[in-house]
């Protein structure tokens, strides 16, 4: 046993190091994501944001963390205690487990040289596993809503369930195009297929897929404008109504981990990962190049994170039927049309440039579904106006 462990040590230590990095960085990152979010929100709203604790308010996150740890552990009388405790940790565990197949730095596809910025390199079902595990995180919310034994919580959880199921379909289908082009489910190989010039990045070949992926990934993270499971207007707090203190934080840590996961995936699958024009690939590269690749990837990830945070202040929230309509009438046909386009080009062995031409197909489909979507909205308005003329609503 020991000897075999020693034998595998050269393979094992990078994995252990990566696990240590993830376990150390994720909670820290979650705390500082809240800080960044608050700062950006403040700047967008012409405010200053937290600036009292430490320089530029940098220790605000630490102060929040300490405060949250010292809070009273409040357990309502009417909850199912065991499930009530399991739910938040389950949320966080699944969110962190999805990071196992996530390369967070350059990984050479020959798996020979250099440090691997990854817990489990070379898993051939990488992206599939990521999707499977991150959809498990719906259980955290559903169990939490159920265990709270409170109708608002369970409504929030049910909404979350419906939302997860609906948005998983376009999420998976939009990735399929990229997977088909790269010919692998392995995330490192998908990134490796985007090496070369900036035009090899998937975002130029699969713009529609990127849009669909980003939108449905945003819905998977429960972020605004898709944060219906926790909307305060009609559900008090949604699934976390009965949660406070550290258990509440675990839920939010999971949410922020999801944001980071989604940003990494967007950067890796569509924005070329650690590739940048002029930077050599990771196989057989020096430590400097690896470090530069890491920085490039982190820069792309922070760009996506920033867009996600800013989107919160740019978009109004959906009504629930609009949310479902967007997934089923908008994104799924789009992703399907895109996948058909990619399949045609790849099967017939047509030149890659035609992929851009196939983007026209999804756009036409998008226009069709969007106009249907608008028509259904307009229909709703006419219905209301009709009620008005019948005297149901009086405007005098």
């Amino acid at each position: 046993m020991i000897s075999s462990l020693l034998e595998y040590w050269p393979v094992l230590w990078p994995a252990l190091a990566a696990i240590a990095v993830i376990l150390a960085v994720v909670p820290f990152l979650g705390l500082y994501m809240t800080f960044i979010e608050r700062k950006v929100a403040a700047y967008v709203q012409d405010r200053v944001g937290p600036n009292r604790v430490g320089p530029f308010g940098l220790f605000q996150a630490v102060a929040d963390g300490i405060k949250i740890f010292l809070k009273e552990q409040l357990i309502p009388d009417h909850v199912y205690t065991a499930l009530y405790f399991i739910a938040p940790s389950f949320s966080l565990i699944t969110a962190m487990f999805a990071l196992v197949v996530m390369p967070f730095g350059p990984v050479a596809t020959d798996y020979q040289s250099g440090f691997r910025f990854m817990v489990a390199p070379g898993i051939d079902i990488g992206i599939l596993m990521m999707l499977a595990i991150s959809s498990l995180s719906a259980y955290g919310i559903i169990v939490g809503g159920w265990a709270s034994n409170n109708k608002y919580s369970i409504y929030g959880a049910i909404r979350s369930c419906a939302q997860f199921i609906s948005y998983e379909i376009p999420l998976g289908m939009s990735i399929l195009g990229v997977v088909a082009i790269a010919g692998s489910l392995n995330i490192e190989r998908i990134v490796a297929s985007q090496s070369g010039s900036i035009l090899d990045w998937n975002m130029f070949w699969q713009p529609v897929a990127m849009l669909v992926f980003f939108t449905s990934a945003l819905a998977e993270t429960n972020r605004l404008p898709f944060d219906l499971p926790e909307c305060e207007q009609e559900l008090v707090g949604g699934f976390h109504t009965e949660y406070s203190g550290i258990k509440f934080v675990l839920f939010f840590l999971a949410e922020y981990t999801h944001i980071v996961t989604v940003s990494f995936l967007t950067a890796l699958l569509f924005m070329g990962g650690w590739h940048f024009p002029g930077l050599p690939g990771p196989s057989g590269a020096s430590a400097t190049v690896l470090l530069l690749g890491l920085l490039v990837l982190l820069a792309k990830v922070s760009l996506v994170v920033m867009v996600i945070i800013l989107l919160r202040w740019a978009l109004p929230r959906f009504r629930f039927d609009q949310l479902m309509g967007l997934a089923w009438k908008g994104l799924i046909p789009l992703a399907l049309a895109n996948l058909v386009g990619v399949a045609i080009v790849l099967t017939l062995g047509l030149p890659k440039h035609l992929l851009i031409a196939t983007a026209v197909l999804p756009i036409l489909a998008a226009y069709y579904s969007a106009s249907k979507f608008n028509a259904s909205l307009a229909e709703g308005n006419t219905l209301r106006n009709g009620l008005r003329t019948q005297g149901a609503v009086s405007y005098e």
Binding site: V48, L310, W313, A366, A370, N374, L387, T389, G391, A392
Partner: protein, 211 residues
């Protein structure tokens, strides 16, 4: 809704019929709208002109007619201007003013032109609703509301201001120049003037305008 609803019929004129604007191909995708929303967010984020006021460091500019903590004004001789007429106590809707009047010590040259003065004058600052009616009722401009807004205390007792405390508020606010005496420019009001007949006395300030 059923026909049996008894709402009055809506007049044709009062109903505005709107049509949803026709969307172009791009608009129907909502992408330009999202982009412009993002652009607005970014524009505000990088403008660097926050409207936040860093409160404890930067104090707000209080308008001169702000109704804050009360003070009792002093006359030119440094005496309390109040003539203990009970007008403010009567006018106060919150019953927070309590005055006990006493005859002015006539043998004291300092007080020889005054008939009455408040032996005690207390205002419960917690009960006060800061309506300013005492200030309006006062015939000698003795009680005024200042622009002091950050009144704090550890006990209820210390929030009941007595005459000395109210006079010290006057000293502080006038000295700092923040609150100049705003009524009648510091002169003693007409009710305190010694006049043989009411006919000779000047009219009380402001009363004519209000009718």
């Amino acid at each position: 809704m059923s026909e049996s609803q008894t709402n009055p019929p809506v007049k044709k004129k009062t109903v505005k019929w709107g049509e949803a604007p026709k969307l172009s191909v791009l608009d129907a995708l909502y992408l330009p709208a999202i982009a412009s929303g993002l652009a607005t967010a970014v524009r505000h984020a990088v403008s660097g002109k926050p409207t936040t006021r860093q409160y404890p460091e930067v104090e707000p500019e209080i308008p001169p007619n702000y109704r804050g903590v009360h003070r009792l004004n002093r006359d030119e001789a440094g005496r309390v201007k109040c003539v203990a007429c009970y007008m403010c106590q009567t006018a106060c809707p919150a019953n927070c003013i309590e005055i006990i009047a006493a005859p002015a010590p006539k043998d004291d040259p300092h007080w020889k032109d005054r008939d009455k003065f408040p032996a005690t004058f207390t205002i419960d600052e917690l009960r006060c609703i800061y309506c300013g009616m005492c200030e309006e009722a006062c015939p000698v401009d003795a009680i005024e509301l200042t622009s002091v807004y950050d009144l704090t205390g550890m006990t209820r007792e210390e929030m009941v201001f007595d005459k000395e405390k109210l006079l010290s508020v006057f000293d502080q606010t006038v000295k700092s120049g923040r609150d100049p005496v705003r009524t009648n420019r510091g002169k003693l009001g007409p009710a305190s003037e010694v006049s043989p007949t009411a006919k000779d006395a000047p009219p009380p300030p402001g009363r004519g305008k209000r009718g």
